[in-house]
């Protein structure tokens, strides 16, 4: 590349991504007097995914009125700007020239921006057709929910773009969002195809095919059908001109990866500790980047928490790099966050790999059980559970990996057809079971 020489600039804190997480972090940092706080957003408008999401489900305003996605985005942008953060749109972070020195592409030309601390809040996306290895033709009409939102933003509900009859693939609350979105745009939903149990999706007013895999996409030009195989091994052909791929989130980790940060398995976000510090000193992370699919309010809360960690670091009160023993999932758990415990016991977020009707959770380190307890309710793969700091109390910060495991007290790892909880928010497990 032989473009123009980049302009060099310096700020105190650089936040990458103006979604709920980045905006909340910036608002708190600016309000706390962290100096020049700048937020970079590669899209033409700030707000992140909620900006594109019609419908309520994004918390409520000060007077308790429910917010829709754009409303949530407007409030978050307003709060960050009022607090004094500088918001730049159409500007993307593309890499690192050196530690804490980001390469940035702006319409005004390339820049390098030096910061005392960086917060990565670049979000997540749903995996594409190729990333899911869906076989068949490369017909048009296959979207992720995010892609569908953008198509609606650009074209509106034009049937020649978004189709007339859709199949939705996915088995967590994201599939419900997609069904709602399609119906709102006048697209009929032929079926929801769930790789896992039906309970994950709940009632959507369309046939839900549980434990069913997509085996082929057909059609030249536009999608013609989706061939699926159910738990009985039988194949079915679902005629449709649109397929929406939901869930199966992967981090937008280009900037994190360019820093050489190690990635967590599954969601592929940067490894972070309980204080939202990554392994690079002064680089913090929050929101969908660390685990997609959660609600916006949680991303925002994480952004604020990351801001707290940045303030402690800038004030010299805390180290700026992730620390503590690794936290690993065991038994029937698919995922535990954070990846490193951090300086002191903090909350854990656990996600089950299958339905556990009467789950018993165990936290152990170096063969020593820190805590073992039965949970008051079933543990569902699509509903992460937040465990309070008491679960890791007594962990040795210099010890070996902290293992968080789960097994099913009633010995039934099967399906829970009745367990329907589409809300998707994490459950508190403060109470002792």
């Amino acid at each position: 590349m032989n473009g123009p020489e980049p302009t060099e600039r310096a700020v105190d804190v650089l936040v990458v991504g103006a979604g709920p997480a980045g905006l909340a972090a910036a608002a708190r940092l600016a309000a706390a007097g962290a100096g020049r706080v700048e937020v970079l957003e590669r899209d033409a408008a700030p707000g992140g995914l909620p900006r594109l999401c019609p419908g309520t489900g994004f918390g409520a305003d000060a007077r308790g009125r429910p917010l829709d996605g754009p409303g949530h985005a407007r409030r978050a942008v307003g709060a960050a700007v009022r607090a004094g953060a500088a918001l730049r749109t159409g500007v993307s972070a593309t890499g690192w020239a050196a530690p804490l020195l980001l390469e940035v592409t702006a319409p005004t030309g390339p820049e390098t921006v030096r910061a005392r601390a960086v917060v990565l809040a670049t979000g997540a996306r749903e995996r594409s057709r190729a990333a899911r290895l869906l076989p068949g033709t490369r017909a048009e009409g296959v979207f992720t929910t995010g892609g569908l939102l953008r198509t609606l933003e650009v074209f509106g509900p034009r049937p020649e773009r978004i189709g007339r009859r859709a199949v939705v693939l996915g088995d967590d609350p994201a599939a419900r969002h997609a069904v709602r979105l399609l119906r709102g745009a006048g697209v009929a939903v032929a079926a929801v195809v769930c790789p896992g149990p039906r309970a994950a999706v709940g009632a959507v007013g369309a046939p839900v095919l549980a434990e069913t895999a997509v085996t082929e996409l057909t059609g030249r030009g536009r999608l013609a059908s989706v061939v699926v195989r159910g738990p009985d091994g039988r194949s079915r052909t679902l005629a449709c001109d649109t397929l929406v791929l939901t869930g199966d989130w992967v981090a937008e980790h280009d900037v994190a990866r360019a820093a050489g940060l190690p990635l967590a398995p599954g969601g592929r976000g940067p490894v972070a500790d309980g204080a939202l510090r990554t392994t690079a000193p002064g680089v913090f992370a929050a929101g969908g980047l660390l685990g997609g699919g959660g609600p916006a309010v949680r991303a925002a809360a994480e952004g604020r928490a990351a801001a707290g960690a940045v303030l402690a670091f800038l004030a010299g009160r805390a180290s700026g790099a992730a620390q503590g023993p690794p936290v690993v999932a065991a038994g029937a758990l698919a995922r535990v966050r954070p990846d490193l415990l951090g300086p002191e016991p903090g909350p854990l977020l656990v996600r089950a790999g299958r339905v556990l009707v009467r789950p018993v959770l165990t936290v152990a380190q170096d063969g020593r059980v820190l805590r073992r307890d039965r949970l008051p309710a079933a543990l569902l793969p699509w509903r992460p559970l937040r465990l309070g700091p008491e679960w890791t109390r007594g962990a040795d910060p210099d010890g070996g990996p902290v293992e968080v495991g789960a097994d099913d007290g009633c010995g039934d790892g099967g399906r829970a057809e009745t367990a329907t909880d589409p809300a998707g928010g994490p459950v508190e497990a403060g109470a002792k079971g």
Binding site: M1, A131, P135, G136, R150, F155, R161, L217, R220
Partner: protein, 576 residues
């Protein structure tokens, strides 16, 4: 680029629609659009005038035409000392507005690019040579013919060049080290490698000479390596070298466990498979070739000895004194239109998967399998865009349209890739696709001159057509001469310069610098330039192949809608 397009009637679009144009509607007020090149300006400093020009690749010393753009800088064409077009080259045409399209000052007159509407009629539709099939082979043939004062048309059933097998291959510029010595293929791949390496440097087609390693994973394979080195030597490649396990590991540190040794083949390169046919076609068009897309030839009538062939197409009728069949998978079917039955094509599918750029550091060379009794294995190779390819499979099929992938195929590639380079197991898959090789049951090309028919078939170009394309084109010129084509004097071609999608664009207008595709850093300016290029894309796929927009990890989740909107606004379906 200015345009003199007249409104085109929306008849006879695409494939299958019967031609609605009368056979001879007289001078065409509704002809296809014609590209007018603005007056010449001196070439830029980076004009490849110092590049060695091999035989068969002509270059004038003039500034190249930027095949990407008309948006910021005017395109440049200058001809030096070329003979005035021969009599067969029509230099005065009835354009809307009546401006002559003559090559005044010896400047080449660009050909027409059309995608819909009736074909030109009358004298406009009478060609000296019609090349059927605008894959990498047909495009190369058309470009070679453009050096001569001939009226040439390149036609294809698809709505873009390179839409067949040429868009779905492994993107390797082969040296031909492993060809069967003495075959036509062995010679043409060897020459083609040399020609295309030089041509890529001249035109800016991305190419990287990473070299190949044939990796032996068991004793049998290791034992086969010296024989392969000897075969390479018989093919004229003496630079191969046997590597022991330690040196192999040193040169390819992320290779999986168990590799016993390798044969190193310098010169094997990776190349951009999409800009190659596009460069040929753009250069042909800029030098006078007409390109008719969305134009399937459905029958060929040959009224009598000496009379030109009458080609019936989905967009009307053309006549051709000489005919070249570069129909790839359909070469046998096209032969049948002329009563020739030399071979039958059996499609052999190759599925591939592409890892994202994050995987690029895992692989330094093209990692080839050692061919064995169980057939050819899969290879792992970097791409010029920083991806890593795994594939291809080899499946003999009946269906010439079966370019889909299968669950088994993809799972197998995932597994084999991870065995060759274990780090790939943790990498996301960015894209999957499949291409069909035109196998004919013979392990060589099937190129044939049919002098009585003034007809040349270029068939059976199975798995090396990209590499051999420029040499094949020269070979076809020879076959056409055998068929009585008198091509006339050769003139240097006005050069083209392909935009490098990897390079930053120097747009002055900030609006054009806005990034549309974040994964691949494609700007609005790059997209607009592609839409205004001599051979513009017909849809999002074509735009992706020209600019990379949507080819990144998110596969267009973010930019797909914006790109499509841009196409609808600025890409007038080939009407510019």
């Amino acid at each position: 680029m200015t345009t003199t397009a007249t409104a085109l009637p929306a008849t006879g679009t695409g494939t299958g629609t019967p031609p609605s144009a009368p056979a001879r509607p007289g001078p065409p007020p509704t002809g296809p659009s014609r590209t007018a090149i603005p007056p010449s300006t001196p070439g830029p400093a980076d004009a490849p005038s110092s590049t060695p020009v091999p035989a068969g690749v002509s270059s004038s010393g003039a500034g190249p035409v930027d095949a990407s753009s008309s948006g910021t800088a005017p395109s440049r064409v200058r001809r030096v000392g070329a003979p005035s077009p021969g009599p067969a080259r029509r230099t005065v045409g009835a354009e809307a507005g009546g401006s002559p399209r003559g090559g005044r000052g010896g400047r080449p007159v660009p050909g027409a690019v059309s995608r819909r509407g009736p074909l030109p009629a009358g004298a406009e539709a009478a060609y000296d040579v019609v090349v059927v099939g605008a894959g990498v082979v047909g495009c190369a043939v058309a470009r070679a013919l453009a050096r001569h004062p001939l009226r040439v048309a390149l036609v294809d059933a698809a709505d873009d060049v390179g839409e067949g097998t040429s868009k779905a291959n492994t993107a390797i510029l082969h040296t031909g080290f492993d060809a069967s010595p003495g075959t036509l293929e062995a010679g043409l791949v060897r020459t083609g490698h040399r020609l295309l390496t030089a041509y890529a440097a001249e035109t800016g087609i991305p190419v990287e000479p990473v070299g190949a390693l044939l990796v032996a994973w068991d004793e049998e394979q290791r034992a086969a390596l010296p024989g392969l080195a000897a075969k390479a030597a018989r093919n004229g490649h003496r630079a191969t070298r046997l590597l022991g396990p330690d040196e192999l590991r040193h040169r390819e540190p992320r290779l999986g466990p168990g590799a016993l040794g390798a044969l190193s083949v310098p010169g094997e390169s990776v190349i951009c498979p999409w800009s190659t046919p596009l460069a040929y076609a753009s250069q042909a068009v800029l030098n006078g070739t007409d390109l008719h897309l969305g134009c399937r030839v459905t029958s060929v009538g040959t009224p009598g000895p000496g009379a030109p062939h009458r080609l019936t197409t989905t967009r009307g009728t053309l006549t051709a004194r000489h005919l070249v069949n570069a129909c790839g998978l359909y070469a046998d079917r096209f032969d049948a239109l002329l009563g020739v039955a030399d071979s039958t094509v059996t499609p052999r599918r190759g599925q591939l998967l592409v890892h994202g750029r994050a995987a690029r550091d895992l692989v330094r060379h093209i990692l080839l399998p050692v061919p064995g009794p169980l057939g050819k294995g899969v290879l792992v190779a970097p791409t010029v865009y920083g991806n890593v390819l795994v594939g291809p499979t080899a499946e003999d099929l009946d269906d010439r349209t079966a370019t889909g992938t299968t669950a088994d195929g993809l799972a197998g590639l995932r597994e084999r890739g991870a065995r060759i380079v274990p780090g790939l197991a943790d990498e996301e898959v960015t894209a999957v696709y499949a291409g069909l090789r035109a196998a004919t049951g013979r392990e060589d090309y099937r190129c044939a001159a049919h002098p009585a028919l003034r007809y040349v078939t270029v068939g059976g170009i199975r798995s090396t057509g990209l590499s051999a394309s420029l040499a094949l084109a020269e070979h076809v010129l020879g076959l056409l001469a055998e068929c009585g084509l008198r091509a006339g004097p050769e003139r240097p071609l006005a050069p083209v310069r392909m935009p490098d999608p990897r390079a930053a664009r120097p747009d002055r207008d900030p609006a054009r610098r806005a990034v549309v595709c974040h994964c691949e850093h494609v700007t609005r300016g790059a997209l607009l330039a592609a839409l205004a290029s001599p051979v513009p894309p017909a849809g999002p796929g074509g735009l992706r192949r020209r600019t990379r927009a949507g080819a990144g990890d998110c596969q267009g989740t973010h930019c797909g809608a914006a790109v499509r909107a841009l196409l609808e606004e600025h890409g007038k379906d080939g009407r510019r």
